[in-house]
Structures are given as C-alpha cells and as structure tokens.
C-alpha cells in the first residue's frame, strides 16, 4: 500500500542559496520555503519519509469529502477530533479575573495553569496572571494539602491580592482533595488571614466544559462574598452577567446602555479591563472592575440579568433559591434580542428607551437593509458554545441567512430544544440541523457533503476554510490569528452592526477573490457592489 514515488531523487543542486536575494531583502518563512532550493530539499527529504505515493494521498483526500466518509465519521463513538470546547478551569480563571484584586489559583498540576494563561493571553494579547499549587507525584499519593498551605501563603504574600479564587485541575479532583478543609487548614496555619476571601469551585475537566467552570467559579465567588450580607431591603440595583463572552466591548456597551437608562447596576465579573488594559508604561497586575463590596452587595439587588442561560444554570439556581432573587434571561444580540432587552429595561425603569438607542437601532437596521441582497439565502455553517451560537442564529435569521450546520460540542438537550423551536418558527431555519456533541471534524464532512457559502467560527475554523474553501468570518473564542477582534462589541445595536459588517464584507471579499483572474473571472470584478 505504501511506496515511494520519488525514484532515486538526487540532492538539490543549489544548497547554498544567498541570504539576501537582493540587497536588503530578507526572506522569512512566508517566502523562503517557496524558493526552489527549499522546494527541492523537501522533495529530496521525501525519500526518507516512508511517505505514501502522492496519488494515494490524493485518492484518500478525495474520499474524505464523500458521503461514505461522512457516514463513517459520524459513526465515531470513542474518538474526538478537533473539538470546539475547552475544560472547566479556563472558564473559572476567566470569570475570576473580573473581580477586584483577584488572583486566580488553580489547585493541582502546574502545567494546566501554563496552558490557561497561554490560551487567554493569545486571544486577548494581554497578560494573564494566575498561580498553581504545583502538585507533583508525592501530592498524588498524599494529597495536595501542603501544596495549598504553601501556595496560598506564597501567592498572598508575594502578589498581595484582595481575593484568591481557587479552582481545581482534574488531578486534584481524581485524588479527591477537600478544598474547604484545606483552605481552613491554610488559614489555621497562618498562610492567609482568617477573614481573607478564598472562594472555591470544583472544576473537574472530565465534566462539562469551560462554560461549566465559569458557572461553578461564579457561584463559588458569589457564595463566598455574599455570606451574611443579606439585608432586609434591596439596594435598588440590578446585577448583570455576560457569561463566557470574549468580547470585552460587550461589557462596555452594556454599561453605556445602562447608564443611558440611568439604571444602577453591578456587572458580575467585569473583566473588560482585565482583558483590555491601557498601556501606561506600568504593569498593573489586577484589573478586575467588579469591586468585592459591590459583589457582596449583589445579594441585595432587585434582580440579576443573565445573557448566557446555558453557561450559568447553577449560579441562576443558587440566586433564585438562596438569595430569593429574580433572574432574567435575555440575549441582546441582533435587533430583536436587543429590542426585548431594552423593552425590559424600559419597563423596570419606567423610562422610555433613550432616543440615542432608538437612533442606533435605526442605523443598524438601515445597514442591514442596505446589504440584505448579499446575505439573503446564504447558507451558513457555524459552531461555538450554546449561548454564543444562539445569539448568532437569531441574528442570521433576522438577516435572511440560513444557518444550515450548527455544531455545538458542549451542547445539552434543553439548549437544543429551545434553539430548534426558534429554527422551526423561521422560514430561514427550515434547512438547519443542530449537531450537538459533534466536533469540527464532523463539521468538515458536513461542509464537504452539503456545502455552505460561509463559515462562522473561531480561529480553528481556518483549517476548514483551507480544506473546503469556504470563507470564514471569525466570531468566537479563541481568535488567535486576527488582532483586536475582542475589543469590539457584538452586543446591542452597535454590536449587531459589527456582526453585520464582518459578515457582509467577508462575503464581498470572497467575491473579489473569486473574480480576480484577468481575462478569466474578472468580468464580475465589480467596482460597485
């Protein structure tokens, strides 16, 4: 089955190509490896690789695009390939970073924290500071108590946090470390003061995904900070939580909207500055904007708004049952979702929707009608977290686009039922399928067998772009290969305008790419579109 096609390949003739192909011109990986000497080197190397023949590779590559392959691909039971989900502690660190002076602390093996910090840093191009218990083999046998006693003392003394938000890695979960008891022991041993807040959450990576970890840590933080803070009267405020939302522009946009309504609010986990801090020449370690005082007082609010229902089930349940507080679920993404949210704010405040927002709505809708011809009926594949996908689907349906393949690796039945009802109710949702618990290798088969016009996803989607030639709009987390996307808002009417802009201009860019060959396709290389 395997053979070498390169018959007695000879070494490249020119093994010392000049460094400077012309004076001052330096070639890096983008150019260098496409030059002949390197191409010949690759060909020469091939004989040692034991490679399959190029014909065989091409044959299998074609087969992966077929219905036959799709059926085999969808018969998988044990294997996951290119999943669109991370593990719990990532979400825990993400939510913890939004609180004042808070140091995220991961109890377990140390490599996990290196990964979380790297991942968040690559998306936001911001420092992300977190510590670990650095547990090793002895801790696997005897438990991680000593690591936590030392770890809390060291991080408290060295980094002077106001709160340490503690979550676990799967190592600590498998060996069954008792967090509450360990923290108390650390306090008894003087690692940290008795009244120092150390909220904690069990965040095993073999349960749920990063959004589960977000929920667990948020609940842990609120439980810890609000203990004994319940007053007899409310504080007149509303709490707002955005969930695992990587668009820090959304927090700023939400606050602007609330200020326009003159509504008193607390954002529960305001990590806008944690992931987008100004460069002043001084490194500031803590940039969480939700003060511990406000977070503690959140128990006395009139109610709490959530924008990611399926990210926050435990926190919502806790707030309803333990705080006796009303919770509201809205999705202020796209036009109608924002309409509903603003209508609620208007109802709560007794004020009309501010003219500024009404005008913004008009502008967003104006833009959508201006471009509708280019988006109408376009077939879309998209993937991401449940709530993220929900907001996008709502918006696509408003635009007259058809969300055909909807892949949600960290799906759940309630989400699927709710989204299915939305799709069923729209003429543009009739060709849609929600692919719960599937991954991006499944999506590859879907896109080959039932092609679409556009893919919406995170940076990992670029491999699907390469393989299927479907243009990608990068919306989601992580986005590693484009800069500054996270600074924009996707929420509210302004956010709808951004989403719309990214979608329509990707379609137009793609049309240009398809019509750029002179005397061949450039008939339609139009100046005006």
């Amino acid at each position: 089955m395997t053979e070498n096609t390169a018959k007695n390949p000879t070494p490249p003739e020119n093994l010392t190509p000049p460094v400077l192909s012309e004076p001052g011109k330096i070639q890096d990986h983008f150019d260098l490896f496409h030059t002949d000497p390197y191409q010949e080197t690759f060909e020469f190397k091939r004989q040692f690789e034991g490679a399959h023949s190029k014909e065989e590779v091409a044959r299998i590559a074609e087969w992966t695009k077929t219905w036959d392959y799709r059926e085999k691909n969808f018969s998988r039971e044990a294997l996951t390939v290119n999943p669109a989900k991370a593990c719990q502690p990532l979400g825990s660190l993400f939510v913890a970073a939004g609180f004042e002076g808070t140091l995220p602390y991961s109890h377990g093996s140390q490599g996990c924290v290196a990964y979380f910090r790297t991942h968040l840093t690559r998306n936001f191009k911001e420092p992300f500071q977190a510590v670990s218990s650095s547990m090793t083999e002895d801790a696997a046998v005897f438990g991680g108590l000593n690591n936590m006693v030392d770890g809390l003392a060291n991080s408290y003394t060295l980094y002077k946090p106001k709160m340490i938000a503690l979550c676990t890695t799967c190592m600590a979960e498998v060996i069954g470390d008792d967090l509450g008891a360990f923290i108390q022991t650390a306090k008894n041993k003087g690692s940290i003061p008795e009244d120092f807040p150390v909220p904690y959450a069990h965040t095993p990576s073999f349960v749920g995904s990063h959004i589960t970890g977000y929920d667990n840590m948020l609940k842990g933080i609120l439980e810890c900070l609000t203990e004994g803070k319940k007053q007899e009267t409310t504080n007149g405020k509303y709490n707002f939580n955005l969930g695992f939302d990587p668009y820090i522009g959304n927090i700023r946009e939400l606050k602007r909207i609330l200020q326009l309504f003159d509504l008193d609010y607390t954002v529960l986990s305001d990590n806008a500055d944690a992931f987008d801090s100004p460069n002043t020449g001084e490194f500031k370690m803590y940039n969480g904007l939700t003060t511990l005082e406000d977070a503690a007082d959140s128990i006395n609010a009139e109610g709490t708004f959530f924008f990611q229902k399926y990210t926050t089930p435990k926190t919502q349940d806790y707030i309803e049952k333990e705080w006796g507080q009303e919770t509201y679920n809205f999705r202020p993404f796209g036009i109608k979702g924002t309409d509903e949210f603003l209508t609620k704010l208007s109802e709560l405040t007794g004020k009309p929707v501010p003219q500024e927002l009404v005008d913004e709505r008009g502008r967003a809708v104006d833009a959508m009608t201006d471009s509708q011809a280019w988006i109408h009926g376009k077939r879309i594949a998209l993937y991401g977290d449940p709530d993220h996908v929900f907001g996008l689907v709502n918006f696509l349906l408003e635009l007259g686009a058809e969300p055909v393949h909807i892949v949600v690796t960290n799906s759940n039945p309630d989400f699927e039922a709710e989204l299915q009802a939305v799709l069923d109710a729209s003429p543009y949702g009739q060709n849609s399928t929600i692919w719960g618990k599937k991954d991006l290798w499944h999506l590859r088969s879907l896109m080959f067998t039932e092609p679409v016009d556009l893919l919406i996803g995170n940076s990992y989607g670029k491999y699907l772009w390469r393989d299927t030639h479907t243009p990608i709009v990068r919306i989601g987390y992580p986005i590693f290969d484009r800069h500054h996307m996270h600074r924009y808002e996707t929420l509210g009417y302004k956010g709808a305008l951004n989403l719309h802009n990214w979608i329509v201009n990707t379609i137009l860019d793609e049309l240009d790419r398809q019509t750029i060959i002179p005397a061949k396709t450039d008939i339609s290389f139009d100046l005006i579109r």
Binding site: L32, T41, G50, H52, E77, L79, Q110, A114, T136
Partner: protein, 481 residues
Amino acid sequence: MTYVEENKKLIQEVLEAYPEKAAKKRSKHLNVHEESNSDCGVKSNKKSVPGVMTTRGCAYAGAKGVVWGPVKDMIHISHGPVGCGYYSWSGRRNYYIGTTGVDTFGTMQFTSDFQERDIVFGGDKKLAKLIDELEILFPLSQGTTIESECPIGLIGDDIEAVARQKAKETEKPVVPVRCEGFRGVSQSLGHHIANDTVRDWVLPKADEYRKLPEGFEPSPYDVNIIGDYNIGGDAWPSRMLLEAIGLRVISQFSGDGTFNETVMTPLAKLNLIHCYRSMNYICRHMEEKYGIGWLEYNFFGPTQIAKSLRKIAAQFDETIQENAEKVIAQYQADMDAVIAQYRPRLEGKTVMMMVGGLRPRHVIPAFEDLGMKVIGTGYEFGHGDDYKRTADYVKDGTIIYDDVSGHEFEEFAKQLNPDLIAAGIKEKYVFQKMALPFRQMHSWDYSGPYHGYHGFAVFARDMDLAINNPTWSLIENPWNK
C-alpha cells in the same frame, strides 16, 4: 560596589518579598555569574514553589507538545479530558509538509475526551475503540502515540496493554507515553519519558518497521538531525547547511519528521543534536546500543554557525572539512551585509532572556554578533548540565535565574531596565505594558526561521524591529511629564 555585587544585592532585595521558607528555596535558584564559576551556581530541576507563578508546564507538554507532537504522519492522542489537547492544539509552530488530515496530522487535536464514567470505569476500552476508529478514518496514518494526561495514571489504566494489542491488530506502531502532568517537576521529565518510549517501543522494532528508500546505500556521511523541532521552519535551513557540506541527513527527529525517519536513525553515523535538554537521552542510548556518536551544535548567528560547521566537519574527512570552509566563506559577504545593516541600530543594547531547552545559552552569541549584550538569562526547566554549558556562554555579572517566578522576572527587569526581553507568550504582555520591547523566543513571535544563515538575517531584522519600532515612544502621554 562592583557590577557583580550590585546584582547580588538586587537578588537579595527581590527575595525579601517572599515568606521565609519560599525565600530560602528560591535563593538557591538565583545567582550572579562570575567567570571563575564553572556552572552558573544555581540549583535546577527542582520542584517549583507553589503559588509563585512559575512559567513551567508539565510532562504531557514535554512529551506530546515537544518530542512526539512534531512527528507528522503519526496520530498523537491526548488521552484523558479535553483540555490538555485543546490548549496545545497548533500552538507550537512546528512546521511540516503534508496534507493535514490525510497523510499528516500535526495541526489537529485527537482526544479521548474523558467523561466522568471513564474516570469511574476506566478508559482502556474507549482507547481501544478509539484506535479502531482512527484506522477507519485516517488509513494513511503511520502509527499512533498515546499521551496520557493526569487522570490516567491515577485511575490505574493499562494503556501499555491496549498499545500492544492494537499494534498487533493494526500492524502499525502504537506507542504508550506515560506523561501524566503530575510526573516530575516540569516538561523536562516528559521529554525524558518520550525519549524512553522511542528506546523501548520503537527502536527495538526499527528493522521491521523501516522502509528504505529505493536503491538506498549506506554512506559514511549519513547523519540525523535530533532535537530540532522546526519552529518556524528552523530545521530546513539547518538541513540544507549540513547537506551543503556533503553530509546526508537521513532523519529529522522530530521537527517535520516521520515515523520512518524515526526508525531510519540507527543507520546514521552521527547524531547531530540541537536541543540537548530534550533529546540527549535517546542520543546516549543510541551511542550505547548502536555505537552512534553524538555532537551538539549551535546554528544561531554566523559566529556559532561557523564554529559548529567546523566542529561537525572535523568528525568527517577532508572533503567535508573543505566543503565547510567553502560554505562559511560563501556566506561571509551576506553575513557582513546583514550585520552592517543591523548592528549600528542594535550596538550595546541589553537583553534579558528566559526560555526553555537550549536557547537561554545558544542564542547569546547571535545577539553578540549584532553587538548586543545579554545581562540576564535562565531556563524554565534546565538541569545542572545545562547551567554548566551556559557558563561557557555568559559574561561576568550576568544574572542567572532558574525557573524564574513572575515576581522575580518583573523586579529584575524593573531594576536592570533592559532594551529587550526575550521569553514566552505568558511574559510578553507583562513587559510590553512596562514599555519594554519583547520577542517571544519559543515561537519566534510568529516569525522565523532563526537557524542557519537564512535564519540569522530574519533574527537580526526581528530584533531591530522589536527594539526600534516607534510605538514604544508613544506610551508616555504628553500630560504626565
């Protein structure tokens, strides 16, 4: 106070922020190099102190991310929960040629995505089934490695038994790698574990697995490139240089490498090792078992490239030695031109480094070729033999920091105020917020290659653009003065 004394005082000040026990531990990992010293005078390869913000990773990162991951035509399974494979997916820039998903798999993530039931009932059956599914969907894969994540070693799974059974059934190598993240003190043990799996699971069957190139005749000039991971394409200019002096590279392990190249390695006459830290184990084994010698080389910057080419050529005959001289001479003018262009812009600039395997020492001469001075350096996961080698590279008064913590690195930088910091992604934006120019030295900050003559030109350009870019001058606002 002398420079050495000043820096010693700085270390004492930096340690004052720690609780006593941690200060005592960390003090052994920090030192000021004095030229009389033969090993930098720091302890290394010890457990990180909990809670201090180490930059280190884990054994899984070392085994899957570093050593096995770049073997492009095998499928590397992140065995356990979903996170480890997700975070390390496509993160390293170890370039390769191939049709991804068909005959190569480098930028994909394969995981058994453990759920609670797998923890409770064990994951061996799932793993066996998973390998069957790989065979159906990826028939051109040349084998599988199983990188176990933390839970595997804690729940008592027998991945070795699964590997043996599946290797038999599929007639392809299946390599179990026991690289649970809690093993050892850093990614370094993961390198070692991965090397050991090459020794125990691959090389004993090398003759059986090997597909020789058509008409292959052994040659006295056959060499392996070991421990070049082809970051940004580094291994390719290195390979070309070796072939330009008349050697034949029959294997790259593991950057842009294949399984067949792995089993080609015993046929070579010499192992040329780039990253000593991560691959010395297999080189020592091959020396013992096959009598293949090994030689470390450094292809960063023209001074070291010339030195290394001569050192390598000296292992062979006069033809190779003459070729080496020719190649060195041939690139002289190009190197002079690159240095003439960039040295005036970089002369006297100071650098603090903190990287992994070999770069904290090997890159120093490349900076010096550009007139720059390294005033601090250290390893994330170095051992005593690395620091011994480092002593040959560093100057009097250089601050040496082993497994540096966030606190230490920031304080050293504040006090020493270098013109450039060269470390990793987790450090990058900390220092950029301090208005300190920064280059990532693991990923080449998305640039590269940096190896060989072609690489040095890119390196020189990148150091210049990092330090001399005008955006740094905008950070201070006009009202704050």
